[in-house]
């Protein structure tokens, strides 16, 4: 509330402090990106002829477009699963005592404390033909032949959802925690049932968290090379693996570069939709 020092523009504070990070970004992020762009604009692997043929190839090739489509779809499915499972968990977190809260936070954070590779192998053990799920169902006599879980879209979605869950749950817990609990009570005392309270009050006010969680989960899910490849196996091809094959196995660097750029743009498009939604919802909540 005190009078702000007049002539000082807050946005000009300590820009110098950002210089090291800016330099780091310039050298290790912007420069490689430009190199990638430069590479993708060549028609031949030797890099002698300029042209857009790599992009043309990708955008007219049904196989490549299929890989892109299934990758974006995978991201959407994982995000949806994380949201459906993470929201109730975050909601629960705000309504239990401190001891249960600690346990929930521990469960949420646990995946972050183990290596992705370890977690992914755990899923292979769980989902495999002789894995825990099939063994249990068979011993209970519910099924006769093992279900095919590993190397399926279902398996990949489940494994990725578990791996990325903290990215969804943590922003949701933060967002729900910011909602004044009296609002719940106010809504209820005004005659609203729990569904109306949820859809009119809790959900709109938690939207910034939902959008942050979805953006993070989506971006992480579609680029999750290890989990996608190990749980998806040979039959399922997603963009990161496609790119890796083109670059490493086939040495087709210009095409791999074009794939990267297209993938990057696709992700940016999806993320910017999310952030636009986020900015619209900023009108809510606030302070």
């Amino acid at each position: 509330m005190g009078a702000a020092p007049a002539s000082r523009d807050v946005t000009s504070y300590g820009m110098g402090l950002a210089v090291p990070l800016a330099l780091f970004f310039l050298v290790f992020f912007v420069a490689p990106l430009l190199q990638l762009l430069w590479l993708s604009l060549h028609n031949d692997t030797a890099g002698l002829h300029w042209g857009l043929s790599q992009y043309q190839h990708f955008l007219t090739d049904p196989f490549s477009l299929g890989v892109l489509g299934s990758t974006l779809l995978l991201g959407a499915e994982v995000t949806l699963v994380c949201l459906m499972l993470g929201f109730p968990l975050a909601w629960l977190y705000q309504r239990v005592g401190p001891r249960l809260q600690t346990i929930i936070i521990l469960i949420v954070l646990l995946p972050l404390l183990t290596s992705v590779v370890v977690r992914t192998f755990a899923w292979i053990v769980i989902l495999g033909r002789q894995g825990i799920i099939n063994a249990t169902l068979q011993s209970l006599g519910i099924i006769n032949t093992p279900l095919k879980l590993l190397y399926t879209q279902f398996g990949v979605v489940i494994a990725l959802a578990q791996v990325q869950m903290p990215l969804m749950t943590l922003p949701l817990i933060t967002a729900l925690g910011r909602i004044d609990p009296n609002l719940d009570d106010a809504s209820c005392s005004l005659g609203a049932g729990s569904w109306r309270t949820f859809f009119r009050i809790v959900l709109p006010l938690s939207l910034p968290g939902v959008i942050a969680g979805c953006t993070l989960t989506y971006a992480a899910a579609i680029t999750a090379f290890i989990t996608q490849s190990l749980v998806g196996g040979g039959q399922m091809l997603f963009m990161p693996m496609y790119l890796y094959q083109q670059a490493s196995t086939l040495q087709n660097w210009p095409f791999a570069a074009a794939i990267s750029i297209i993938f990057l743009l696709a992700v940016l498009a999806v993320v910017s939709v999310f952030t636009t939604l986020g900015r619209l919802s900023r009108g809510y909540g606030g302070t």
Binding site: S187, S189, L190, A192, G285
Partner: protein, 364 residues
């Protein structure tokens, strides 16, 4: 339009609540509130006011006892079916909804169509004198305006009971007075049974038809403002409501109507046994309000030495040290030229009337 009958009676019947943590928040509270009354629930912070309010609203299920609204026991009803309007201390307006949507929220929950809802919201906003704010968001309003909106929102559902939890605590002094008058006006217009929680005794005395004084979860007294102020039933009520001098003494003789008490400060006075009969020879605490003490010229009363005199506008408060070393305050109305009392002057003091000195059995 919704037509819930307003001004229904409210009975709090032997309500006790113990939180799962073990804290006994309210204990055996009995209140019998008539339809259309305005009641203040007065007590220091932590005495269980909010707990009792939340039990009446249905947010907490009491451990024991019953809540009866009108002629129905409501204990089995969830908050959204009790028809109880609440104004929260922090107003709890929905930050993402416009003022109009906030006010009509309860009507929407009742399935009233949009046109009627808006008309009703506008009517209520006019009632609370904010007719031009309908399209704003809560954060674009000042504290006092937000409170009016919260009031309009609670009134919109035409509740049978209106509960206000420390409604004026966050407002500055002038605004508080405005809002107190406003709430009282609205209460008179709507005739709605109203319960105001407060820790401010002036607010309780000025606004309520009857005041329920709570301490440590127990009901100390439930009566009109003048009952509570002039005829306190417990030492706690006497000291919490208004200011008072506590003077220790011994009972010389006592019957039901009056007791003769020898004060440690050195005088025998007649006092009212406020909490029932007193035993002869027992130690008591006599409470006399500063405005009920007077300087006397003769040898009656007890002696003292004037310390400091504070002119407080309409009154002057003198601090007097008595023979036993304790201090008492004496408040005098200020006439045009009040006789100035020098610091160090020897004076004698006596209560204005026996009924204005309340004797309670000494605790400890």
């Amino acid at each position: 339009m919704v037509d819930a009958p307003s001004g229904r009676s409210l009975v709090v019947d032997a309500v006790t609540h113990r939180y799962p943590s073990g804290a006994l928040a309210v204990e055996n509270i009995n209140l019998d509130i008539k339809g259309g009354e305005i009641i203040a629930l007065l007590g220091p912070s932590g005495c269980g006011k909010t707990t009792l309010l939340r039990i009446i609203a249905g947010f907490i299920a009491q451990t024991q006892g019953r809540i009866i609204i009108g002629d129905g026991i409501v204990d089995a009803l969830p908050p959204n079916r009790r028809s109880v309007g609440i104004v929260f201390q922090n107003y709890a307006l929905f930050p993402h909804l416009s003022i109009s949507e906030n006010v009509s929220y309860g009507l929407a929950a009742r399935g009233i169509d949009k046109a009627d809802r808006q008309r009703e919201a506008q009517r209520l906003l006019e009632l609370v004198q904010l007719p031009t704010m309908a399209e704003r968001l809560p954060r674009q309003l000042s504290g006092g305006q937000q409170q009016r909106v919260a009031l309009a929102r609670a009134l919109a559902i035409r509740p049978s009971i209106l509960l206000l939890d420390e409604p004026f605590a966050a407002l500055d002094k002038n605004l508080r007075l405005d809002m107190q008058i406003e709430v009282k006006r609205l209460q008179r217009v709507s005739g709605i049974t109203t319960l105001i929680v407060t820790h401010d005794q002036e607010e309780a005395l000025s606004m309520a038809d009857r005041v329920a004084v709570l301490s440590h979860g127990k009901l100390e007294q439930f009566g009109t403002p003048s009952d509570v102020y002039d005829r306190p039933q417990t030492l706690f009520v006497n000291t919490f409501v208004g200011s008072t001098n506590r003077m220790p003494g011994v009972v010389v003789s006592a019957d039901r109507a009056a007791a003769k008490v020898r004060l440690d400060a050195g005088a025998e006075i007649i006092a009212r046994p406020a909490a029932g009969a007193l035993t002869e020879g027992g130690r008591v605490t006599v409470c006399i309000r500063p405005e009920h003490l007077q300087f006397v010229g003769d040898e009656t009363g007890f002696a003292g030495v004037v310390g400091m005199s504070l002119p407080l506008g309409a009154t002057v408060v003198h601090e007097v040290t008595t023979a036993d070393g304790s201090g008492v305050k004496v408040s005098q109305a200020r006439f045009g030229e009040t006789r100035a009392l020098e610091s160090g002057a020897a004076v004698r003091l006596a209560p204005l009337a026996p009924s204005l000195a309340n004797a309670f059995p000494a605790t400890l």
